[in-house]
């Protein structure tokens, strides 16, 4: 690709914050032209709320974990900036701060940054335990965080003036200051979102299990976003304090928490565009209704209507007004290719592209003597199997034979009661799934588990990023694997728009993007027609030679198993019953018996 496309690539990169920021700029210009104090006040509030809500978006939007405690971080930022910037005399009236703080009076910008950093540090500390929890437990944990800091700050009289309003904070936030910070927040959110960290976190949101399997450390990725999000929410608190000139703990409790969440969710929590739309819309509705409220004296109306809008959105449009989409980048005919991410723009000096995985091609993936007991019952009983890097090994057995358990043991989702799993001489038995992914074992899933709302290209990139590649290198590798699979024409299609057979192939491509030494394919032919199976067999049989990657194939479709495997391992009732070439297995009466049941009883009882 030629060099003169670079400016366009930059334009593409800053497209979302650019357009959204431009929208806010136009709004600001109009308001300052009108000069109405009431409207101006509403817009300033909306602008610093943008900082807070974009902060929320960084975590909630990218991780998909609902958090209720973020206003605690805004509170921490707001009070901190009061400590740093109030004049010593004013501080003396209300607070009994330690001497070094009581006499400090920092300039506004350093104070703002230090205060937001303080919020980020607290976010980090509470995030360490919290981010290890998943789903609903994490959400409840964030409630607890809000309660803890709310209680502490309400009673910390010497530092916070208790539950009373602390006044005398210097006022400097006007339209332009608020706009500048909103633009910075938008840009930061974009940089994060397009980085490998943002990509990895969105993958955990789309499918946590599949994200772990490509080597993503879920708690770590969540923590990174949580801290960044804490910084900007803290900054939102700082700006609020310096706009109002006062601060009170009540402004960070459940009501304001609800409004901030409503802004994010009504707009659409899965895109930056949604976050901004939500802030603008909710602010406008609130402002108009407040006017009506004060005219007809019906207090509570504005909040009631916001709650009602939120309920309707949750029921009819759970992804909000923006529905997870950003403002589309205009396509200039032939220049549309520019819409590709950074990686594709680099010259094709792609050493990270499609390389056979490193290491010794003669090493093996081995499971020794694996036994798993569930409450006394052995689901797997002393199974030993191994896969070389140049072969395709099939694992078959009837329903309930223990294949699932073996798969879960090898991939680290289940700890064996006994025995061990070794990859290239390294014992990986007690490693978590994401670490096993990094040791060179990739896998696909029975239920495919693509990242549905991400393009095919990103589905592959996530896997490459998960094993430590940069975003650029990951882009190159994804492109070359798609090329090898003859799938480049669909690289920009969202995974949830693919036909089913293609979905399965992308799943295999994603596993290969980790440059694994072994890949475990879990029923790749399930639900496929015979023609699709032929295509699939062609793909699988080319893997070992092209990638230096051994294949462990779990499959019920005997045509596929017999068609591609070098060796087949048969288990029944948790035990190995035989092992051999497809020809040997087809001839083995034990195997037929395991599947079809014992024949001896059949003749006598027939026609009973």
């Amino acid at each position: 690709m030629s060099r003169d496309l670079r400016p366009l690539a930059v334009a593409r990169y800053v497209w979302e914050p650019g357009t959204l920021g431009f929208g806010l700029l136009v709004l600001t210009l109009i308001v300052s032209a009108i000069g109405d104090k009431v409207i101006e006040r509403a817009v300033i509030v909306a602008l610093f709320n943008t900082v807070t809500v974009v902060g929320l978006y960084i975590f909630i939007g990218n991780s998909g974990v609902l958090a209720f405690g973020h206003l605690a971080f805004a509170m921490i930022g707001g009070y901190a900036t009061a400590w740093f910037t109030m004049s010593p005399t004013k501080k003396g009236f209300a607070l009994q701060l330690p001497t070094f703080l009581a006499e400090t009076e920092l300039p506004m910008l350093p104070a703002a940054i230090i205060s937001a950093l303080l919020a980020a540090i607290v976010t980090f500390i509470v995030g360490i335990p919290l981010m290890r929890l998943g789903g609903i437990a994490a959400s409840i944990g964030t409630f607890a965080v809000l309660m803890i800091f709310y209680t502490l700050y309400s009673n910390w009289d010497s530092w916070t003036f208790g539950a009373s309003t602390l006044v005398g904070i210097p006022i400097y936030v006007n339209l332009w200051v608020a706009l500048a910070w909103a633009a910075i927040a938008l840009l930061a959110a974009t940089v994060y979102q397009k980085s490998r960290f943002g990509l990895a976190l969105r993958a955990t949101r789309e499918n946590e299990v599949a994200a772990k399997a490509v080597g993503i450390n879920v708690p770590l990725q969540r923590l990174i976003a949580f801290v960044l999000s804490g910084f900007f929410v803290g900054l939102g608190g700082v700006l609020q304090a310096h706009y109002l000139g006062s601060i009170v703990v009540k402004a960070f409790w459940l009501g304001p928490t609800f409004i901030a969440l409503a802004m994010l969710i009504i707009g659409g929590q899965r895109s930056l565009t949604g976050a901004v739309i939500g802030v603008v819309l909710v602010s406008a509705v609130q402002e108009v209704l407040r006017q009506i409220e004060s005219i007809i004296g019906l207090f509570g109306l504005s909040q009631l209507v916001i709650a009602l809008i939120m309920l309707v959105i949750l029921i009819v449009r759970p992804n909000g007004i923006a529905m997870g989409r950003e403002i589309p980048f205009p396509s200039f005919g032939s220049l549309r290719r520019v819409a590709a991410p950074r990686g594709a723009l680099e010259p094709a000096a792609a050493e990270h592209a499609i390389v056979p995985a490193g290491g010794n091609l003669d090493e093996r993936l081995e499971a020794f003597d694996v036994t798993v007991r569930f409450g006394g019952l052995a689901a797997v009983d002393r199974v030993t199997l191994s896969v070389g890097r140049r072969e395709i090994v099939g694992l078959i057995g009837p329903n309930g034979a223990g294949k699932t358990t073996i798969v879960n043991v090898i991939t680290g989702f289940q700890k064996p009661t006994q025995g061990k799993v070794v990859i290239g001489g390294v014992d990986v038995t007690n490693l978590p799934p994401h670490a096993i992914g990094r040791k060179g074992l990739a896998r696909t899933f029975q239920a495919v588990r693509l990242y549905p709302d991400m393009p095919v290209r990103e589905n592959l990139e996530v896997a490459a990023v998960g094993v430590g590649l940069s975003r650029v290198a990951a882009g190159q590798r994804a492109a070359s694997i798609l090329d090898w699979m003859e799938f480049s024409h669909k690289a920009d299609a969202r995974a949830n728009t693919l036909p089913y057979g293609d979905e399965r192939r992308v799943g295999i491509g994603r596993a290969l993007a980790m440059a694994p030494r072994y890949v475990l394919l879990d029923e790749p032919a399930a639900g496929m027609s015979d023609a699709e199976c032929d295509e699939l067999m062609r793909l699988i049989s080319r893997i070992p030679q092209r990638f230096g990657c051994g294949v462990l194939l779990i499959e019920h479709n005997m045509r596929v198993i017999m068609g591609v495997c070098d060796r087949i391992h048969v288990i029944d009732s948790g035990r190995t019953i035989t092992e051999g070439t497809p020809q040997q297995i087809q001839r083995d009466p034990e195997v037929i018996r395991a599947y079809l049941g014992s024949k001896s009883g059949a003749a006598g009882a027939r026609g009973r």
């Binding site: 929890l133 969710i265 509570g300 709650a307 309920l311």
Partner: protein, 304 residues
Amino acid sequence: MQAVVQNVIDALSLGSLFALTSLGIGLIFGIMRLINFAHGDLIMIGGYALIVPSTAVAATMFIGEWHPGAAVAAVIFIVVVFAIACERLAFRPLRRANPSVLLITSFTLSFFLQNAVIMIYGGRPKGVDLWPLLVEPFMLGDIRLPRLQLVLIGATALLLLLLVLFLRRTAIGRQMRAASEDFLMARFLGVRANRVIAAAFAISGLLAAVISLLFVVQNGVLKFDMGVPLVLAAFVGTVVGGMGSLVGAVIGGFVVGIASVFFQVVLPLDMRLNRDAWVYGLILVILLLRPGGLVKVKAVQERI
């Protein structure tokens, strides 16, 4: 002696209050994986049902003036109707949604109900003097006993007993237990999903109504967000006890109540105001050490 007795009664009565609230939340969570933040607002609605709707500063008694029996029945009726209406209008359309969406929905509903009350009754706290005789302490030998707290403990014991009988002895109770364990299997046996869920909301409404009466007598004041501290404590209770277990919810509620009183007694004077921070800190510790809570609910192994 007086202090010890008082502390024990304090712990048990606060624990009762939290246990009943946790139970109302736990019942619904078990059946439909909904953490109902709006449960606290059902308690609040029960309180406001006692007075004449008006934004005037002073409260005028309405149902609160009736014969206590009639008042109890009326408040229960009103709260149960509200509980069922919430399910029908807000939660039923979202029955297939994930627990996070359900939680934010209930949070929204809570905010909606609170602001509706602000519109109708005004946002300022209102003093109400309900059944003042209950608040009078009485003497047993040398020891002064708080009548209301004993009534609260007694009422809780009675409700728990009735609930156990209901769950064990009636067909619908049996269906609710089955549904909270394996809803789809229960439906394969002809158990009606809508009926079981409506029953769960009705019972949680009944529990909320009883709490609101006792809470109003105790505090003598109505405020639109009076249910929030209760529901937050009950959250802690259900998580501590183990989400999805009714026994766990009751135990968790008592643990939180007793822990609150314990911290109140043992913390030095200047830290006592931060008691709740300690209690909520406890939830984080327990979530970390035992993410499943004190009473474990069986998990199913699945292939991934």
